[in-house]
């Protein structure tokens, strides 16, 4: 299970990669492994404003429907259209081509409440 050091994590299994006030969000390797076979992704509208913890997107595997939550309060600035035709990218490259949406943060201080790679690893290994 891969947990890149440079990313921040939410307990709900999203990762965020931060560049200044912009961020890219996806789901973790652990999450995709639990879901298996992602077959559908419902992407948000660009411009959608969300609070931290609010459902932004939906990822469906063969067996289940999962909400993807905003790790921080933000505005959606971009979505990964490629997932519409190839949702399996989330399984293949959860931290790369399988990214889900980009956002502009409202309050970068909210990042402090997210988990580091080490902290996230602890939460998922205790899950097992």
């Amino acid at each position: 299970m891969e947990i890149p050091k440079e990313l921040k994590y939410a307990k709900t299994h999203e990762w965020i990669k931060v560049e200044k006030e912009m961020g890219t969000v996806g789901i973790t390797d652990y999450a995709q492994e639990q879901l298996t076979d992602v077959v559908f992704v419902e992407l948000p509208q660009i411009g959608k404003v969300v609070s931290k913890g609010e459902a932004v997107a939906v990822v469906e595997s063969v067996k289940s429907v999962s909400d993807i939550y905003a790790p921080v309060s933000s505005e959606v600035t971009g979505v990964n259209k490629e997932l519409e035709n190839n949702p399996g990218l989330i399984n293949k490259e959860p931290y790369g081509k399988g990214w889900i949406f980009k956002l502009k943060m409202k309050d970068p201080k909210e990042l402090d409440s997210l988990l580091s790679a080490e902290e996230y690893e602890k939460t998922v290994t205790s899950d097992r």
Partner: protein, 364 residues
């Protein structure tokens, strides 16, 4: 208390993701549902379906008794033949759907859904009392593990380990035989839409038979298959799932198994109600649909026509073979014609769909 099949430890060793299925701990998948699905469509897969229930029904008047219980006609069965049928109550609604194995006029075996074992047993016991003749009913579920070997390569695979000439077992027939030195019953039946067999064994031999089949099937590309793929496979073939697509609020006449109601046979439980329903007309019908847009329909999503609710999805999902969302559901009969455009409500969105001919998939 959660129940384990005799293969539980074997599944864990194979790395299965285990889920609770009613009272049972069962494998959902070993690697991935889509991969397992494709393995059964293209090669061969082995399932543990030991959670299914089995009852023995014996007695001089067993045939007449079975005929009372079921809507289909068992009088045409030869020994060693299998019949698919619903079992209805007096209202004509479905208590369960099951397989009837005929050993002789005096001995039948019912194979029933795992979730209905207790309910079915009580129902049949009650009918025995009213029947007034000697019938011996026995629940042999716990002593009857069941494996399913399914896929185009299943005969090739199984032939390597059995003394039976499998080419002589026709669809919906069975034989007693041996796998290695172990006694089994093998029927040419299944729940996947592919050629395949179901194998009834004694509990102590289940792991041995399971491992042997996986071993000899390597050349054919065999894999163990979980309940996840079992569900996607049966859905593509529009095989109904009890509890989803039918229950005690539905009659067989509303479904695609209306052919299993044989009104010309002797009197059976539910006959009057079913005759009456036929005369009065069927108000809702089971249909199959596929999505015309992206999305995945699921159990209990509303079905609409011109923004008005006309029905409900009872089974839905992503079809790995067709690579789109498909589903079964009930709609008002007026809207049940093939080609009718409908909408499925997925969360807040209305997604376009079309009623299509079922099964969605038929093997070549």
């Amino acid at each position: 208390m959660l129940k384990k099949t005799p293969l539980f430890e074997t599944h864990k060793r194979l790395g299965a993701k285990i889920i609770e299925f009613g009272p049972w701990l069962m494998p959902l998948y070993y690697t991935s549902i889509v991969d397992e699905h494709n393995t059964v469509r293209n090669r061969v897969g082995l399932f543990d379906v030991s959670h299914m229930g089995e009852f023995n029904i014996r007695g001089k008047d067993a045939l007449a008794f079975v005929q009372r219980l079921i809507t289909n006609d068992a009088s045409y069965l030869d020994n060693n033949q299998v019949l698919y049928t619903p079992m209805c109550n007096d209202k004509g609604t479905i208590i369960d759907d099951l397989l009837v194995y005929k050993f002789s006029d005096e001995h039948f075996m019912f194979v029933v859904n795992a979730s209905n074992i207790e309910k079915d047993y009580k129902w049949i016991e009650g009918v025995v009392k009213r029947f007034g003749k000697d019938i011996v009913l026995k629940d042999i579920s716990d002593e009857t593990p069941l494996l399913a070997l399914q896929g185009p390569k299943s005969q090739e695979t199984l032939q390597k380990v059995t003394d039976l000439d499998l080419s002589q077992i026709k669809y919906y027939w069975f034989q007693k035989g041996m796998i290695e030195e172990i006694q089994v019953i093998i029927s040419r039946t299944g729940y996947t839409g592919e050629d395949g067999f179901e194998i009834y064994i004694k509990p102590e031999y289940a792991p041995k038979v399971w491992n042997k089949i996986l071993e000899v099937g390597k050349e054919e590309g065999i894999k163990p298959i979980g309940l996840g793929a079992r569900d996607t496979l049966r859905l593509e073939c529009a095989m109904l799932l009890y509890g989803n697509d039918m229950d005690e609020t539905r009659t067989p006449l509303e479904t695609n198994i209306a052919w299993t109601v044989k009104s010309d046979k002797e009197n059976f439980i539910g006959e009057e109600a079913l005759l009456k329903q036929k005369e009065e007309g069927i108000k809702q019908k089971l249909i199959g649909f596929e999505l015309l847009e992206r999305g995945i329909p699921r159990h209990n999503y509303p079905i609409l026509k011109n923004r008005e609710k006309i029905g409900i999805v009872t089974s839905g999902g992503f079809s790995p073979t067709l690579k789109k969302g498909i589903g079964l559901g009930y709609v008002k009969t007026d809207f049940s014609k093939e080609g009718t455009e409908i909408q499925i409500q997925i969360r807040e969105k209305l997604v376009k769909a079309q009623i299509v001919k079922i099964p969605f998939y038929r093997r070549k």
